[in-house]
């Protein structure tokens, strides 16, 4: 261990994804979410709680903004609701946005962590090393989406987070986080690792559809698709291509067309240049049909 290691191997660990650096190979995990299909049922969120051993903090802490929902359903209302001209069926004006860590390619959270607890993996994931985290919460401060959740309390020892009868339900593949560390959506990295190892043992790469995230699996309307963006035949890569959303653009070419694009694909806060790995498909409005 020497300073030389640090100086010589720096470039190995610091990439300028995705613009100036070599693209990910053979995996770049990405997602696309069809907001038109999303019914706001929260199944994805529940599945995430179950899969990733998320603590259920209770009503009071939830109201305090201390919920640990890695996958959250955001509820938005159309502006005309509640006015006289508004719809008779206000629920039609509701729309939902499933929001989780966007696994940004140039993640604002990564550069600011003083101990390097959050890093970019070779598969294009934004990883969080719980054991390394010292809880400075700088990552959360710099996250534009505020999708990083901090263990404000020692949840494993908190009453009713996982009641006695439910301890068998905890997922043995996922660590339970102690107090004072940051956590967030991992794209179900435990599942990805199993699939990758299986594929490697058989001398191939992961097939499309071979691995699903918990939220994707639970979605009753199949609004979420997940897969390998490097594989052009994968569902997610085809969707991104159809929507002409490119990973390494902070402004999509299609949006520069006069009058804008009719395609529905967009990424949230793309203009901040975090290069998020989640594409959303805009909801088709009645007024637009």
């Amino acid at each position: 261990m020497s300073v030389n290691n640090l100086l010589e191997n720096w470039s190995q660990f610091r990439h300028f994804h995705p613009v100036d650096d070599k693209p990910h190979d053979p995996y770049k995990w990405a997602m696309s979410i069809d907001l038109d299909a999303c019914s706001g049922c929260n199944a994805c969120s529940v599945a995430c709680y179950a899969e990733n051993n998320l603590p259920v903090v209770g009503k009071e802490k939830y109201a305090h903004g201390q919920a640990m929902h890695w996958m959250r359903i955001e509820h938005y209302w159309d502006e005309d609701i509640g006015t006289k001209e508004g719809s008779d069926f206000p629920d039609q004006g509701a729309q939902f946005l499933p929001m989780m860590c966007q696994q940004c390619e140039a993640a604002p959270c990564e550069t600011v962590c003083p101990v390097g607890a959050t890093n970019h993996t070779a598969d294009g994931l934004n990883s969080q090393v719980y054991n390394r985290c010292i809880g400075s919460r700088y990552c959360s401060a710099n996250c534009p989406y505020k999708v990083r959740y901090f263990n404000w309390y020692d949840y494993p020892s908190t009453e009713n987070v996982w009641p006695e009868t439910m301890t068998q339900q905890l997922n043995p593949d996922v660590t339970v986080r102690g107090k004072g560390v940051m956590e967030k959506c991992t794209f179900c990295v435990q599942r990805l690792n199993v699939a990758k190892n299986d594929a490697r043992n058989e001398g191939r790469t992961v097939h499309d559809g071979e691995v699903q995230t918990a939220c994707q699996q639970a979605c009753p309307t199949s609004a979420i698709s997940f897969g390998n963006l490097v594989d052009p035949a994968s569902r997610v890569a085809r969707q991104w291509a159809q929507q002409q959303v490119e990973l390494d653009k902070d402004k999509q070419t299609k949006d520069a067309e006069p009058g804008g694009s009719n395609l529905r694909g967009y990424r949230i806060l793309e203009e901040l240049r975090p290069y998020p790995s989640v594409m959303y498909l805009e909801r088709v409005r009645e007024s637009a049909v």
């Binding site: 261990m1 020497s2 290691n5 640090l6 610091r14 802490k61 305090h64 903004g65 201390q66 919920a67 955001e74 946005l97 929001m99 604002p108 550069t111 600011v112 962590c113 003083p114 101990v115 390097g116 390394r132 985290c133 010292i134 809880g135 400075s136 919460r137 700088y138 959360s140 401060a141 710099n142 534009p144 989406y145 505020k146 959740y149 901090f150 263990n151 404000w152 309390y153 020692d154 107090k179 004072g180 560390v181 940051m182 806060l269 901040l272």
Partner: protein, 455 residues
Amino acid sequence: MEKDIREDIAWAQINKDVLGSLEAPRPLYWVILLAAIAMIGVAVGCEIYQYQVGIGAANMNNPHAWGLYISTFIFWIGMSHSGTLLSAILHLMHADWRKPIYRFAEAMTTFSLMTAGLFVMIHLGRLWQFYYSLPYPDERGLWPNFQSPLLWDAMAIFTYLSSSIIFLYVGMIPDLAICRDSMHPGWRKKLYSLLSLGWEGTDRQWRNFRVTYLMIACFLIPLAVSVHSIVAADFAMSQQPGWHVTSFPPYFVAGALYSGCSGIITLFIILRYVFKFEEYMTLSILKKIVRLTFAIAMVWTYLNAVEFASVWYSHDQPSKDVLIQKASGTYAPFWWGMIFCGSIVPLTLAFKRAQTNIPVLFAVSLLVNLGMWLERWMIVAPTFSHGIYPWTWDHDQWPSFVQWGIVFGSFGWFVLLFMVFCKVFPSVSMYEVKEMVYHRSLHLKKSGAAGRGAH
């Protein structure tokens, strides 16, 4: 023009007056010391509770990831700056008037840095793993992240603190020798003998001393500027609205000098009164610091205006929203309080009568520092409450008693350190006051001689 110091003070008188401040304290000293310890007790209690329970005890939540700890950290870092201004920058500029007051200002620097460092620790979610942020050789080849402004912060503060301690100590050596020579045998005599490193005042020692002192002064000046620029970088390097401002580093440095200068005024007045240092801490010197403070106040006000204007005309909607939120939302009373205390109150310092009016100056200096504390809070909190992502806006979060208790206790910690310092070490530099008196008498002799020559 009044004199900064009388030229006819005898050197023995200077020794006697300054050493007098080291004599056994009055009962009130012990009362204040106990009060300070009680304040620290509150903070320690809060910290123990927070350590056990988790940062949740501080009542932070998802958008509000940082709170009063970071604000107060910036406040104490800021307080530390004027010591260096007075002792190092003015030393290089040969400003004689700094001599009677730089010692306690330098002590203030050291102690406020020691207070600020605590807040970095208190803030951490896993205090017990703080050493991960240090670049120590680790057999797993793990290093801290050198891209993180927080790491620069840790390094800058540590460097600044260690240099300040060395500077304070080196500058004190001739005085420690005076203490050694005039003390009766006892623990003090032993302490001063040890610390004065065998100082005898030979020519060779003085020459080495001058060079060393000058070198540390030169080393310290860029550090003082970089430390607060780096604290500003914690914010300016992020993407958050209200933080991502290019002018933050100079703005922070100006704010730091500002709060530090008013801290010096406060302590000047207290020491002058308590130790009866009227001969040395003269009103003429006070007037000079007050004018300096006024100038820095105006620079700070200007930089504030620059920041608001650049946000307002930037067409960066989230930043603009944060600014509007500061001026009209939940934080409006504090934000306007900051404007009032930071920009309006110091206008009184423009009046000649106020510049030497001790009760007015005392009140103004305290108000200014209240304003500067509010400023730091208004940098940190509103951005969290009203960030880029509207779904997570939270305008109602309020720091818990744990946060307030620790902030309260930090003042006790500072007071404790400072009070112990004042009784153990000479808070006025004896040898430099003598130099000042000597320079003045030389000057008078010269002008007298010139006057005679004209005949």
